[in-house]
C-alpha cells in the first residue's frame, strides 16, 4: 500500500506530532507515504468565509498536483483539510459553471477523480492492524473518541462513517487493545478557530466536552483534528478554571495511541509536545510493559 500524502499547514507546525506519529504508524505497518510536492494551504475556514471560488480553487490545485504525479489516492489526516478537499470535489461535480471557473483559475482540470481518504479509513478498513503487530499492552487506557465536526459532516459530502455516531476511530483503537467508551459528544463542536478570536466560547465548549468525557469514565481523549487537539489540550486549564472542576485528561492524536501500541518510541510520537502532561499515563505504561 502506498499513498500520496497531504499533511497541510498544521501538521507542519502546531500539530507536528500528528504528522510524526502518522508517519511512524505507517512505517510500522509498511504503508508508503509520498508527500505531495509543493502543496499549498487548503484555505480552511478563512477561505470559504471570504470567497467560494477561492475556497474550491485552493484544494483543487493540490488535487491536480496529486493527479499529475500519477497517484490516484491522497491521504489527508487534518479534519479541516480533509473536509475542504471533499467539499471541493463535491462542488466541482455538481456546479458546472463553478467547475469551469476553478479549472481556469487553477490552470488545469485535473484532480476531480483523485480519491481523498482519511487515515481512519485506511486503518479501519484495508489497512486493518493485525493483532500480532501490537507489542504494548494499553488496556489501562480508557479513551473516548472525539471525531469533531468536519470528518463526518455533512454526510452527503464527506461520505465517511456515521455523521451522528461514528465508530471508525473506536474500531481502530480497539484493534490495538485500547478500551473506548460510549459517550454522546463524539461529534460536538469545540468552537474551532473561535479560540483565536472569541476565546470564551471555546473555553465553554471545551469545558462541556471534557466534563462529559470524565463522566463517561475516560482517562484519555483521542482526536483526529489539529484544532480539536489545540483546543482540548491548550484550553483545558481555562476550562477547568471556568467550571471549577479538575479534568487533568491528556488529549492524544489517535495515531499516537496506535503508535504506542505498535511499539514506537515515545519521543518519536511527539508525546512531549502536549500542554496537558501525559507523563502519568506513560509511567503506568512503563510499569505495564
Amino acid at each position: 500500500m502506498s499513498y500520496a500524502y497531504y499533511p497541510g499547514c498544521s501538521l507542519h507546525s502546531t500539530a507536528e506530532e500528528y504528522d510524526r506519529s502518522f508517519r511512524k504508524v505507517c512505517s510500522s505497518l509498511e504503508i508508503g507515504l509520498e508527500e505531495v510536492n509543493n502543496w499549498i494551504c487548503c484555505g480552511s475556514s478563512p477561505a470559504h468565509a471570504t470567497s467560494h471560488l477561492l475556497s474550491i480553487a485552493l484544494p483543487m490545485h493540490n488535487l491536480a498536483i496529486v493527479e499529475k504525479s500519477g497517484r490516484e489516492e491522497v491521504v489527508v489526516p487534518c479534519a479541516s483539510c480533509f473536509s475542504r478537499f471533499k467539499f471541493a470535489q463535491y462542488e466541482m461535480g455538481r456546479d458546472k459553471e463553478l467547475s469551469r471557473k476553478v479549472s481556469e483559475v487553477v490552470g488545469s482540470d485535473c484532480g476531480k477523480k483523485v480519491n481523498v481518504i482519511h487515515p481512519l479509513e485506511i486503518l479501519s478498513g484495508r489497512g486493518a492492524i493485525a493483532s500480532s503487530k501490537v507489542v504494548r499492552d494499553l488496556s489501562f487506557i480508557k479513551a473516548v473518541c472525539y471525531y469533531g465536526c468536519l470528518l463526518t459532516r455533512p454526510p452527503e459530502v464527506m461520505k465517511f462513517d456515521s455523521c451522528e455516531y461514528p465508530m471508525s476511530m473506536d474500531h481502530v483503537l480497539r484493534s490495538v487493545g485500547i478500551e473506548t467508551l460510549e459517550w454522546s459528544y463524539k461529534t460536538e463542536c469545540c468552537g474551532a478557530s473561535l479560540a483565536l478570536t472569541e476565546t470564551g466560547i471555546v473555553v465553554k465548549l471545551v469545558g462541556d466536552l471534557l466534563s462529559e468525557a470524565k463522566k463517561a469514565g475516560a482517562n484519555a481523549v483521542a482526536v483526529a483534528c489539529p484544532l480539536c487537539h489545540a483546543n482540548l489540550d491548550g484550553r483545558q486549564a481555562e476550562a477547568e478554571a471556568l467550571r471549577g472542576e479538575k479534568f487533568d485528561i491528556p488529549i492524544f492524536y489517535f495515531t499516537q495511541l496506535v503508535g504506542l501500541a505498535l511499539g514506537c518510541s515515545e519521543a518519536g510520537l511527539g508525546l512531549d509536545r502536549h500542554i496537558v502532561n501525559v507523563e502519568p499515563h506513560l509511567s503506568s505504561l512503563r510499569g505495564g510493559v
Binding site: T50, L54, A192, T197, G234
Partner: protein, 187 residues
C-alpha cells in the same frame, strides 16, 4: 397591542436574490422547525439563532442579517446543514451573508472574527502555507490585545509547537490563484 414597524418589501429586496445567488440555497424552503437552532453549539453566544437568521433572510431584512453577530460567530461545524429536514445548507448561507456583508461595506458586528478571516486569507496568499506565528502577530496588531494568551503562547513555544520562520513553498502558486480569483470576481 403595540406595533413594531419593520421596513421591508421582499419584492423589492435585491438582498434575497444576492443571498440565494451567493449561497445557491433556497431559504424559502425553510419551514421554521428550529432544528438548526437546537443543535447549534454556538447559539448560546449569538444574538439571533440560525432559524431567526433564515427567517429574516426570507423576509428580505438585509440589515438584520448583515448586522447580526450570528453570521460571524458561526463556527461552520455543519451541524445545522446536516440536520436540516428541508436540505437548506445553513452554514453556506452564513458564509454567503459574510461575503455579502463585506462586499456591501457593512461594519462587522464581531470584528475579531472578520479580522481573523482577513488576516488568515492574506497570510495564505503571502506564504503559500499558513504561517501561524505571523497570523497571531497580525491579529494582535489589529486587536491591540498584546497580552492575550501570553501564558499559553509561551508554553506552546517551549514545546516547539510554534514555528518561528514561515515556509515560502507554493507562494507563487497561491499568488497566481488569488490574482485569477480576483479577476473573475471583479467581472
Amino acid at each position: 397591542m403595540s406595533e413594531i414597524h419593520i421596513d421591508y418589501n421582499p419584492a423589492l429586496s435585491d438582498f434575497v436574490l444576492a443571498l440565494s445567488k451567493e449561497s445557491r440555497q433556497d431559504v424559502n424552503a425553510c419551514f421554521q422547525c428550529r432544528k438548526c437552532a437546537a443543535g447549534c453549539p454556538v447559539a448560546f453566544a449569538m444574538d439571533l439563532t440560525p432559524t431567526q437568521i433564515i427567517h429574516a433572510a426570507r423576509l428580505g431584512l438585509e440589515n438584520i442579517v448583515l448586522n447580526s453577530r450570528t453570521i460571524w460567530l458561526c463556527a461552520s461545524c455543519q451541524t445545522c446543514t446536516t440536520r436540516c429536514p428541508q436540505d437548506v445548507d445553513i452554514a453556506r448561507v452564513m458564509d454567503a451573508a459574510r461575503i455579502i456583508a463585506v462586499k456591501r461595506g457593512v461594519k462587522p458586528s464581531v470584528k475579531s472574527v472578520r479580522n481573523f478571516f482577513k488576516t488568515a486569507v492574506k497570510n495564505i496568499s503571502w506564504f503559500g502555507r499558513m504561517y501561524e506565528l505571523g497570523l497571531i502577530m497580525g491579529l494582535k496588531l489589529k486587536s491591540g490585545e498584546f497580552t492575550k494568551d501570553m501564558e499559553l503562547g509561551k508554553q506552546m513555544f517551549m514545546k516547539g509547537k510554534i514555528k518561528i520562520l514561515p515556509s515560502f513553498k507554493g507562494m507563487r502558486d497561491t499568488r497566481r490563484i488569488y490574482r485569477a480569483v480576483r479577476k473573475k470576481e471583479s467581472r
